[in-house]
Each structure stands twice: as structure tokens, then as C-alpha cells.
Amino acid sequence: MSKIITKNLNLWYGDFHALKNVNSSFALNKITAIIGPSGCGKSTLLRVFNRMNDLIEGVRIQGEVLIDEENIINSHVDLVTLRKKVGMVFQRPNPFPLSIYENIVFGEKIHGDGAGRDRLDEIVEQSLKSVLLWDDLRDKLDKPALRLSLEQKQRLCIARLIAVKPDVLLMDEPCSTLDPQATARIEELMRELKNNYTIIIVTHNMQQAARVSDDTGFMLLGELIEFGKTEDIFTKPKDKRTEDYITGRYG
């Protein structure tokens, strides 16, 4: 079952045609990896899903992006609600310069309906448990989030998203600043999270895409060249351009 579908999606940054007729389908509760060389449009595609590109001047989008069958490329879409439903984790973890507790309840305070302290405590505990940080941080909730390790900061950012109960988690190179052990733990966390969320990850790390994702899409020069089951893409890609890229013959 598809959670997100794109139909004839085109995007321009001014005159630059960054996404060209992208037709794709992202499965519910699966991890989909988008791979491709720098500048191929993979992060642009990711940012379409929560309309982050709207923040860039001169962006023009054509086509449809259906999330739960609703076209989000529509001026009537409420962006705050969309970004609550479709959360994003960035390359460098970006906790707010607040306490751990305040980081997690930040979204609830914006989106929520004035939940009391007990409800906020519950959200903090559940969110931290879901990213496996609760045991480490339960006694340090009032400490500044900026003092956490890089991996803990990235987990905290994921917890901050989960606190507002999204459906989709977009991850743009979420492990690129982490060491191999921390990367392995975040990947393990992704596997846990996919039971409840649809995850789309953009990564330069082909081994990571192969390890962690169910489906993989390969992009080149704004086009989605090939999309399929991860095991097929990495063992028997159909398109020579995909094969050249994943075997290191291109780029």
C-alpha cells in the first residue's frame, strides 16, 4: 500500500530543472532509500514531501504529490499540519538550545491543545523510549540538549519528531556525521520505527541504503532512473546507469 505517490512531478529552481517527471510510490511502513550522486535531486525530492522547498525563492512545482491520497502541492494545504504529519531529520542534528525536555515538548506546545504537565511528561517518556534514550536521559531531562553526544542529539531530534505523532519520517543523510557504531544503532532504530512510520532516507552511503531499506530509488540529473526492491537494485539493477553508479563506475 502506498503512503506517498508522485505523478509527473517537476520542480524548477528558477531556470534549473531539478526534478524531471518523477513518478514514484513510497510504501506504507517501509523504509525507502533514495540514492544518487550529488546534485541529482534526491534531497529536493525529499523536501517536496513536507514542502520545505517552499522556503527557497524562485521554486516552481508541477505535478502531483499525494500523501494519503491528498495532493499536498496545493495552496490550500496547511503547512504546519503537513510538517507535523511529515517530519524531517537532517544531516547534522539540530536540537534547540533548550533542555532535553523542552526540545521534545516544543512541537506539542505549538501543535497541541495546551496539554498539562502530566501529559507532557508522558509524551517525553514515550518519545525518548521510542528512540531508546529514556534509560540514559530520564534523570537529565532539564540538562541542555546541546551537551549530548552527536548520536544522542540525532536520536533526540527523532524523538522530537515522534512527539508530534507524524506518519512519515524524512531522513536526509541522518548518519553522515556519526561514527560506525552510532550509525549502526540509528539504523537499528530505523528498523524499529518502520513498524509505525513510513521512512524515506536520502543517503550517499550505498551500503547503508542496502542494509536498511526495503525499496530503493536511484536518481540522476533530476530523473528517477530506477525504483524497486532494494535486493533487486543492488544485485540485478535493470538500468546500466544504476549499475554504473552502485558499482562505482559513475560519479
Partner: protein, 225 residues
């Protein structure tokens, strides 16, 4: 763009070619020893098996090393994993050549049962199949791999013919010929097994080149896919 791994893959290709040459040579020598009743040549096949075993281990180690260091994908991955499987098939073929040499050592001191006609013919088929199978791997040539698969029925038929003749014309008519006839029966069976191993190689090559599994799906070959 030439990648560093390309040099290593070329080396692996050369090593497997060498393994193929070893296997082919072992078959040739074991049958020449049988034809010429040459004990020394039969012994040399048995002794040379250590070299084949060493090369098999070295190739396996190289493949594991390549996987660990380069984490290959797609056709590189298929090439290396197919290389490992073909390596094992070639080692088995060389082992069978040793079996033939050992049967030969049993026979050389006994009177010749009959002139050898069909066994050398079967040997030529087996050698050609090995050669085609190895060439199909080294050059990624699917057409040649398919030729190997299409040659197998001929080997089966000839083996059946040899078996029929040895049983009906010798063992049934004169029980005293049985010890020698059984050795020849076994040799024919060994040669046919060698042909079966070459078909495994050919199936692996087809997977390596076009990522399609035809093993256990003979209809795919018949359909010309």
C-alpha cells in the same frame, strides 16, 4: 573509468582460468593414462591434486577478501559469488579426474578388456564442455554457456551406450570380465558427472551475466531466454 577493484577482478578471472586449465589437464591426463596404460601419468594426476586444492583455497580467500574490502554490488557481486561457485565446481572436476586416475591404476596391470572407443569420445565431449564453460565465464559469453547446457544430453546418451555395451556384451556374457568392466563403467559415470559440473558452471555464468536464475528451470533455456 578503471577502478582499483577492476585489477583485482581481472586477477580473479585469471586465477579461475588457471583453475580451469588445471581441471582440463587433469581430465586429459587421466584418460591418456588409461588409453596408454601409463601408470606414471595416472600417478601424476593424483599427485597434482594438491596444487588444485591450494589454488581453490587461494581463490576462495581472494573472493572473501574482495567482498570484505570492496563490498561489491550488482555485477561485481555476481561476478565474485559466481567465481566462488565455479571454483568449487572446478575443484570437484579435478577430484573426479583423480577418481579416474585411481580406476586407471587398478586397470593398467590387467589385460585390456576391449579397445577404448567411446570413453575417449566422451572425454572429448567433457573437455570441450569444460573449455566452453570456462571461456563463457572468462568472457561473460552467454551463447557459449547455453552451448554447454545443450551438449549435456549427448554426454548422457554416450554414457548410457557405454554402460549398455559393458553390461550386455561383457558382464552378462562372461562374469570374469566384471572387475574390469565395473572400472570402465565407473570411468564413464565419472566423465558424465564432469559434464554435469560444467552445466552448473554454465548456469552460474548465465546468472552472472544477465541476473537470471535458470538453474532448476530448464524450460527457460528451451524458451530461448
Amino acid at each position: 573509468m578503471e577502478r582499483h577493484v577492476d585489477h583485482e577482478l581481472k586477477d580473479l578471472n585469471k586465477d579461475i582460468l588457471k583453475m580451469g586449465v588445471f581441471a582440463e589437464e587433469a581430465i586429459y591426463k587421466s584418460i591418456e593414462a588409461l588409453k596408454n596404460r601409463d601408470k606414471e601419468m595416472a600417478k601424476s594426476v593424483v599427485e597434482n591434486d594438491n596444487n588444485v586444492d591450494s589454488l581453490e583455497l587461494a581463490i576462495d580467500e581472494k573472493c572473501i577478501d574482495l567482498i570484505a574490502r570492496y563490498q561489491p554490488m550488482a555485477k561485481d557481486l555476481r561476478f565474485i559469488t559466481t567465481g566462488m561457485k565455479i571454483n568449487a565446481e572446478l575443484e570437484r572436476i579435478a577430484d573426479i579426474a583423480v577418481d579416474i586416475a585411481q580406476r586407471t591404476l587398478e586397470l593398467v596391470d590387467k589385460p585390456l578388456l576391449k579397445p577404448l572407443i567411446d570413453i575417449p569420445k566422451l572425454t572429448v565431449i567433457a573437455q570441450n564442455m569444460i573449455k566452453m564453460a570456462i571461456d563463457s565465464f572468462v568472457n561473460g559469453d552467454i551463447g557459449l554457456a547455453k552451448k554447454v547446457l545443450l551438449s549435456d544430453p549427448e554426454a548422457d546418451q554416450l554414457r548410457n551406450l557405454i554402460q549398455k555395451e559393458l553390461i550386455e556384451d561383457y558382464m552378462v556374457k562372461d562374469g570374469s570380465t566384471a572387475p574390469r568392466a565395473v572400472q570402465l563403467l565407473l570411468i564413464a559415470r565419472f566423465l558424465e558427472r564432469i559434464c554435469d559440473h560444467t552445466t552448473n558452471i554454465a548456469e552460474d555464468v548465465i546468472y552472472m551475466v544477465q541476473a537470471e536464475v535458470i538453474k532448476h528451470h530448464p524450460e527457460k533455456l528451451k524458451n530461448g531466454k
